[in-house]
């Protein structure tokens, strides 16, 4: 943009973003705010949440932070209520909160299984459950879920993560079928490896040195990992009217990683 006025793509919209305090969620919060949306950031880490909020406020955006654990129904309900109280409506829900522990079925503890399924999948259900009512009442809305390339193909040592993300893809389609006639579009994105804190953390848990691990991640047609901004732009496309005929879709943003 070189000084020419351009219409913002989410003017007068209100977005609620889970896992909004880092990585993809943080980038989406900032991009949607830049495109004119008022943004409610939900997350568990208060200090990171306030830092994201401060940056958005500083560049003239409107935002609030809502301390939220998406495993808890009451907290999801409160996040939706607080968003409505602060901004008067809810147009876009980005279900992004997610965790990952690299284990086979033999190694995965029951606690780690529950954690991944509850945050990645049940959290998406709970947030949607409470957001859909107000969206339907106001005549429509958009839900974008963060799935994964590993919601479409299997990955090594990732049983609970793959199960949770495969669940997100089909939960997306089921909700699209149920609520399309009520003016709600529901889609998911399936990112490949992206430069988030989740990536070095995965390398550490797998006991791999970063260089070796990264080389493996870069082994895809575009020859590199993605940036959080590239994923955020996919979310913007799905959140905006540019995708008005899209629902129930899984948008793969992975540098070609699942093409072969």
């Amino acid at each position: 943009m070189t000084g020419v006025l351009r219409m913002m793509r989410l003017e007068n919209k209100v977005a609620l973003i889970t896992g909004g305090t880092s990585g993809i969620g943080e980038a989406v919060a900032e991009l949607l705010a830049r495109e004119g949306a008022r943004v409610a950031i939900a997350g568990r880490n208060e200090s990171r949440g306030h830092a994201v909020m401060a940056r958005i406020l500083q560049s003239g955006g409107k935002t609030i932070f809502l301390r939220t654990d998406v495993r808890k129904a009451a907290e999801c309900q409160r996040a939706v209520d607080e968003t409505l109280r602060s901004f008067g409506r809810l147009d876009i829900l980005f279900n992004n909160a997610g965790v990952f522990f690299p284990h086979t079925a033999l190694e995965c503890s029951e606690e780690e299984w529950d954690l991944q399924i509850d945050i990645n999948l049940k959290g998406t259900f709970l947030m949607s459950k409470y957001a859909l009512g107000p969206m339907i009442a106001q005549g429509g809305g958009v839900i974008v879920n963060n799935s994964s390339g590993w919601g479409i193909v299997g990955g090594d040592k990732a049983v609970a993560y793959c199960a949770s993300k495969g669940g997100v893809v089909l939960l997306t389609k089921a909700m699209a079928v149920d609520h399309g006639r009520q003016g709600i579009r529901v889609n998911c994105i399936c990112p490949g490896d992206v430069d988030t804190p989740m990536l070095p953390e995965d390398a550490r848990m797998r006991g791999l040195d970063w260089k070796t691990y990264l080389a493996g991640c870069e082994n895809r047609p575009l020859g590199r990992i993605g940036t959080v901004d590239e994923i955020a732009k996919a979310v913007l496309f799905l959140a905006s009217d540019d995708s008005s005929f899209m629902t129930g879709a899984a948008l793969v943003v992975d540098g070609g990683g699942t093409a072969d």
Partner: protein
């Protein structure tokens, strides 16, 4: 909303080549790409309608030319690419959109119709891509977008050759994405559901069904309506622009939820 200035367009200063540009999705995409700042080379077998699209773009201050092209002929594809280079100097975006449909089971399908559908829907992508890829490479990278279909991912009744052709487009897309990713060429396809185009009415005619009844059936999907060509064009714009810079080898389903499951 002002989007004609080259500073604001989302594909400003790019050159796009669009086949099947005289009507439907191709026409809507030509108009949108031009509005977003691209110079557009338009190809179609329908010369009158194709010229009208180019004129419309020129009248609103965009850059466009129309070239009569049969995309199943290698010489035509070559001529189109040479003219695009001559007039616009480069090619960044190729939208392989030309397509036809024959609504028949394999029992009712003539061999000529099989060959024709495969040639227009699939072989054209090969013929044109092999001409264009060296130029996109010279431009430092770019994108190829193919029009596949929801019926490139799942089967449909009385559409054997169409399904075969569009399934081929989906996998040709992935194969090309793998081959040309290292050259910074992204290759993706769009899988539209039923869209309000001439092709949809042509299907009703081929099936000898009443138009209104056919369109009512087509609207049976979660969003409860057929798509507009402009909505498919927006998907093409996303794939053509830098907004999708990490997207390659994908099939972008734009179908009002038709493939998500039964309502």
């Amino acid at each position: 909303m002002q989007l004609s200035g080259k500073d604001v367009g989302r594909i400003a200063e790019k050159v796009a080549l669009i086949t099947g540009a005289a009507s439907g999705i191709g026409r809507a995409t030509a108009l949108l790409f031009a509005r977003e700042g691209a110079a557009v080379a338009l190809a179609d077998v329908n010369t009158d309608a194709g010229r009208r699209v180019a004129d419309e773009i020129a009248q609103s201050g965009g850059r466009a030319f129309f070239e009569p092209v049969d995309v199943t002929r290698a010489a035509d594809c070559q001529r189109l690419v040479e003219r695009a280079i001559r007039e616009f100097g480069r090619i960044d975006i190729l939208f392989n959109n030309a397509g036809i449909i024959r609504r028949a089971t394999v029992l009712d399908l003539s061999e000529d119709d099989w060959d024709r559908v495969m040639a227009v829907n699939v072989k054209s992508i090969y013929l044109l891509s092999r001409e264009v890829i060296p130029h996109i490479q010279k431009a430092g990278g770019g994108t190829i977008i193919n029009t596949a279909s929801g019926w490139g991912l799942t089967g449909g009744a009385k559409a054997a050759v169409y399904c075969a052709s569009k399934g081929a487009v989906v996998l040709l897309t992935k194969a090309m994405a793998i081959d040309h990713g290292p050259q910074k060429i992204r290759v993706n396809c769009i899988c539209p559901g039923d869209t309000d185009t001439g092709m949809l009415r042509e299907e009703a005619r081929q099936l000898e069904e009443e138009n209104r009844q056919f369109l009512a059936e087509a609207a049976k999907r979660p969003l409860g309506r057929v798509g507009t060509p402009e909505e498919i064009a927006q998907a093409a714009l996303y794939l053509a622009s830098d907004a999708s810079s990490f997207v390659t080898g994908t099939a972008l389903v734009v179908d009002g939820g038709g493939l998500a499951g039964s309502v």
